[in-house]
């Protein structure tokens, strides 16, 4: 899991540090930097999967520099726990004036007792698992050289880090964008969930039909029976939800479900299909489309999934149900100081009178 995130010169995140556990809530006012934290994590996931270059819009584009500081370098650091071992990743990026180009001027991966990878001045120095020096070679400046290192018998620690980062799943669901049709399977759920049909098709192939998944949806969505992929071409399928029972059955296309129902399909899918996959879930306002009464059951299910092997769930939320359930011991409050810089502190440090719930303190702005 990711235990520490450090960011400097990314939007409102200046010399910003966040320490994480396996289940956390990020809370704070609008514009306090919560989603920016998730954007950094998502960008690193793309960079370290080799899907994106460093100045791509989704990673560290020129426009993402902190506006008022006018510095041209950005730094991101991650501390992770991989198989019980702490690993530290550092990325330093320099933008050319006007944003014409960006280049990685430093990329490092280390364990506490030594380096595993170092990229500086255009050269990569690899280290073996026993920390002895390995090959040295030149690499591109605008993409992660670490992501290009192929797995070998003597770099299993480095490979484990890359695998961890490739298992990061950042989501900000937009159910209105979901589409019925799936031309082919997709191994990854897109950030807004629009390709849910294709991802579900992949899950069916990988895991088969899940009784638990169907049961939890039946308990949650009135009249729901099951999901079904209907053939609409040689390869194409369309996802429909079956409702009712026996002769009374009827079907609705995915796009005919409500936004909340679509969100529930994804949110429970993430927990039921990914709990054994080692995924790290970073979810931006997953409660957005849910009925208030459905939020705590999902949180309880998430907590159980963590016990069953899901390594990490980090939630951004403003919802009282989430704040009251997670805020006391897992809540981190992000706040913008007068300088515009974001700082964090434990949410429970806001001062909670015995007569009030934590969400009431936040809702009323009565934080100390």
């Amino acid at each position: 899991m990711i235990t520490r995130i450090y960011v400097d010169n990314f939007r409102c995140l200046v010399n910003f540090e966040l320490k994480l556990e396996n289940f956390n809530l990020l809370a704070g006012l609008n514009g306090s930097g919560k989603s920016s934290v998730l954007d950094v994590v998502d960008g690193l996931q793309r960079l370290l999967s080799g899907q994106a270059k460093v100045n791509d819009k989704s990673v560290l584009p020129y426009a993402s520099r902190t506006r008022w500081s006018d510095r041209d370098t950005q730094v991101v650091e991650l501390h992770t726990q991989v198989g019980g071992e702490e690993m530290r990743y550092r990325l330093k990026v320099q933008h050319e004036s006007g944003g014409r180009r960006a280049r990685i001027i430093e990329e490092r991966l280390a364990v506490p007792d030594g380096p595993l990878f170092r990229f500086e001045n255009g050269d990569v120095q690899l280290y073996r698992d026993n920390l002895s020096e390995g090959p040295k070679f030149a690499a591109e400046w605008n993409e992660s050289a670490l992501a290009r290192v192929p797995p070998r018998h003597d770099n299993q620690r480095l490979t484990a880090f890359l695998e961890l980062m490739r298992r990061v799943q950042v989501c900000r669901l937009n159910p209105a964008a979901f589409v019925n049709d799936t031309p082919q399977e997709s191994q990854a759920l897109s950030r807004n969930g629009e390709n849910f049909s294709s991802w579900y098709r992949h899950l069916l192939q990988e895991h088969g039909d899940s009784f638990e998944y169907r049961a939890v949806l039946q308990a949650t969505i009135p009249g729901f029976q099951k999901l079904r992929l209907e053939k609409v071409g040689s390869e194409a399928r369309t996802l429909v939800a079956v409702f009712g029972s026996g002769k009374e059955e009827y079907e609705l296309a995915l796009e005919e479900l409500s936004d909340g129902q679509r969100a529930l399909l994804v949110l429970y899918g993430l927990l039921h299909f990914l709990d054994k996959s080692g995924r790290l879930l970073f979810l931006d306002e997953p409660d957005n489309f849910l009925a208030a009464s459905e939020i705590q059951p999902w949180l309880l299910c998430a907590e159980d999934a963590i016990g069953d092997g899901l390594p990490q769930v980090v939630i951004v939320s403003h919802h009282a149900e989430v704040i009251d359930y997670l805020g006391g011991d897992r809540g981190l409050l992000l706040e913008r100081e007068v300088t515009g810089v974001t700082k964090t502190r434990p949410l429970r440090d806001v001062g909670i009178p015995d007569t009030m719930k934590l969400s009431e303190v936040i809702t009323r702005g009565w934080e100390r």
Partner: protein
Amino acid sequence: MSRRRVQVVVLYEDRQHATFVRRFLIQNGWENRQIVVVMNPHGRDGRGSGEQWVREQYAQEVRKLRSAPHVAKALIAVIDEDKQGVGRRDVQLSKALEVANSPARKPTEAILHIIPARNIETWLEYLKGNAVDEQETYSKFDKGLDCRPMVNTLKDMCDARKLREPAPPSLERACVEYRTRMAPILENR
């Protein structure tokens, strides 16, 4: 039935309590969707008085429970005895009702006081198979969810209607609370 109707309210002092009690309820036939947890934001290690917050919320939750008898079935308050004398927390909870001008709980009313002594870790140590002393402090679990095998052990003991001797007296009292106030609800469902 997919509309969520909460039947059991559980008021906790700490997430370890939450995990333990919720797991026990699920083992005994309740579902997540029938349970709502009210979490003490201070925790046991937090700033401020966690047990005082629980007592304050307890009186409110008793009123809420009694106002919705068509749905709400039970309230479970979980709070460590800590260094208080035996029965002190129980008295404090009852006093909280008195202060709030709420009637005292009736002998079989489904309002449970679950009060581990010295704290929940004492029970977990016992359920691991070790001898325990309620005056001692036992170490906390790194991960709260690691208590699940111990809940299974407790469930087995409950089904056999016998705790392993010698059992912590606070756990024996909790079993009596569950048997007299909660078990009848399940039997009548």
